[in-house]
């Protein structure tokens, strides 16, 4: 009788390999569902900008209209047609007197000068855009689909074209799954202030400064007229010198995007192609740090890279992104600014 019951129970039980198979399948399904909520489904942030902490401030007058000291610009024989407002006085030879001059690798107007250079050396291909702007409003940021939130993405080129960008680079992909900790100050609005690594701040006076996670405070940054802030990192220069130790887990050669700062009104975008044997292997953080030092930058900051690394010039993609690139949350771009 007991044997009979035991045999019946055994008949009902699934074989061991089937149990293992079902459990492995359930692990896979659970991972897919988890990733869907963690990484894919968009979660839009507050659309009511008036409810955001900080809020938008117009650029402080001192930032763009006070001419620099006479030693920083031409003192004699200055063409009277040259607009000396903003940084136009300082970089008068970089801008035109009104006309727009465009080539395949450069753009010059009365407010903006962009020169793009492609460099191929030691198995690495990278692109540098040397940028001079007259006003802080010529450098701006844009969100994917013009919405702030996690998981909202758009192609970098589409964002650039929609915003009439002269040139653009991917941003920090603040809306990627991740822990949700990030710092987002864009075009004068503070959206979020919970850093999870080095932070780069661009102030209304045109200066850029990197902060460690512990140094950064969103309220202080806004009180000091922060205009943009990004949180991807790491910082690539310390006191204008190359670094060897970085606050990052992704140190090996990769496609990368970064932004460099020389002085107020003078910046550069860098995009390194990678993971493409025979064309470009990518750069390590140390290599990129040395490159920025050799360029003469005083601050430099790593943005999102890998497949995200993309640079645009005019209406086309300038670099050769890995696997055609991917959509991201935000861009940094240079534009002719005609006001809000």
């Amino acid at each position: 009788m007991a044997n009979h019951v035991s045999r019946r129970r055994k008949k009902k039980m699934l074989p061991g390999y089937a149990l293992v198979f079902i459990d492995v399948c359930l692990i896979g399904v659970s991972l897919v569902v988890f990733s869907l909520f963690h990484h894919v489904i968009p979660r839009q942030g507050s659309e009511d900008l008036s409810k955001l902490p900080g809020g938008y401030r117009t650029p402080p007058v001192i930032a763009t209209t006070t001419p620099p000291a006479a030693t920083e610009g031409p003192t004699d024989n200055l063409d009277p047609s040259i607009d000396t407002s903003g940084w136009g006085y300082k970089f008068y030879d970089k801008f035109t007197t009104g006309e727009v001059e465009k080539t395949d690798t450069s753009y010059r107007s009365k407010d903006v000068s962009v020169t793009m250079t492609k460099v191929q050396e030691n198995g690495v291909t990278y692109y540098i855009q040397d940028i001079y702007i007259r006003s802080i409003d010529n450098i701006r940021t844009a969100f994917a689909q013009d919405k702030y939130g996690r998981g909202i993405t758009e192609n970098t080129l589409e964002m650039a074209v929609r915003n009439n960008a002269i040139c653009a680079i991917n941003g920090d992909y603040y809306g990627a799954g991740g822990s949700g900790d990030c710092v987002v100050i864009r075009n004068g609005y503070l959206y979020k202030s919970s850093p999870d690594g080095d932070v780069l701040v661009l102030y209304y006076d045109g200066t850029m400064k990197t902060y460690s996670k512990d140094e950064f405070d969103g309220d202080t940054a806004m009180a000091n007229n922060a205009y943009q802030a990004w949180c991807f990192g790491p910082a690539l220069l310390k006191d204008g010198k190359a670094m060897t130790d970085f606050d990052s887990d992704v140190k090996r050669a990769n496609p990368r995007s970064a932004i460099g700062y020389y002085e107020p009104g003078h910046y550069c975008f860098l995009t390194v192609d990678g993971r493409q044997p025979g064309y470009s292997d990518g750069m390590t953080l140390a290599q990129m740090s040395e490159l920025f030092e050799s360029l003469g930058c005083v601050e430099a900051y790593n943005l999102d890279g890998g497949q995200t690394a993309m640079m645009t010039f005019g209406d086309s993609v300038a670099n050769q992104p890995y696997n055609g690139g991917r959509s991201c949350s935000d861009i940094i771009y240079i534009c002719e600014w005609e006001g809000v």
């Binding site: 149990l19 079902i22 459990d23 492995v24 359930l26 692990i27 659970s30 991972l31 988890f34 909520f37 963690h38 990484h39 990627a176 799954g177 991740g178 822990s179 949700g180 887990d249 992704v250």
Partner: protein, 71 residues
């Protein structure tokens, strides 16, 4: 009826533990490769860890009780 549900839950518990543990192994590998994706350091994963801990405690208690009764 409630006894049936309880028995089903007891049967499913080890599988739940296996599934969540498997997920954690994958999360760990992803985190070693790229911690910026925060597959471990996020609120959802912390809840999973709590469920795994409770499931493990209940499974262990049941196993101990079974071992003691079959001695």
């Amino acid at each position: 009826m409630s006894k049936k549900i309880f028995k089903a839950l007891i049967k499913m518990l080890p599988h739940l533990n296996i599934i969540i543990s498997g997920m954690y192994i994958v999360f760990y590998i992803i985190d070693v490769q790229n911690s910026a994706m925060a597959f471990i350091n996020n609120p959802g994963t912390k809840i999973l860890l709590l469920i795994l801990s409770l499931g493990s405690i209940i499974s262990s208690i049941l196993l101990i009780a079974y071992q003691r009764s079959s001695m």
